[in-house]
Subunit: 80 residues, 2 copies
């Protein structure tokens, strides 16, 4: 089983990296670029075969390590 | 219009960050964790209203800045 975890900053949290990328895109000549927000994505291979157990495990991984839940949101997609 | 770009390492490319995360998950007591691969996700607000033009623009952004196409793959999802 494989899980994809996408971690993004909560709205309202300042994203200096995103702003730097937005500036670079403009200086490369891309017009009409609005806000850019950068996040992380994790592909985790899991040994479980039970879907709900796998989801619970990945949720715990996010809460403990993969996401800083004070300033970040996370979504989990599990593929068999 | 909004685009989500997901950038991940090509298979076969060493991912020391992913290995470090895998080790940390094991030391936190998560058993059965296989390989972990980390990537980036970008949410870009676009001024275009034409879907194909927006896709072409984002593809050019990836080729020029958002992805290192020698070692990374990217996928683009555009939502109106």
């Amino acid at each position: 089983m494989k899980a994809r975890v996408t971690v993004t900053l909560k709205s309202g949290v300042l994203d200096p990296q995103g702003q730097a990328i937005q500036g670079s895109l403009k200086s490369l000549g891309f017009s009409g670029v609005g806000a850019v927000r950068q996040g992380k994505v994790f592909d985790v291979e899991l040994g479980e075969s039970d879907l709900s157990q796998a989801e619970a495990n990945v949720r715990a991984m996010c809460e403990k390590l993969l996401a800083n839940t004070v300033i970040e949101n996370y979504t989990i997609e599990i593929t068999p």
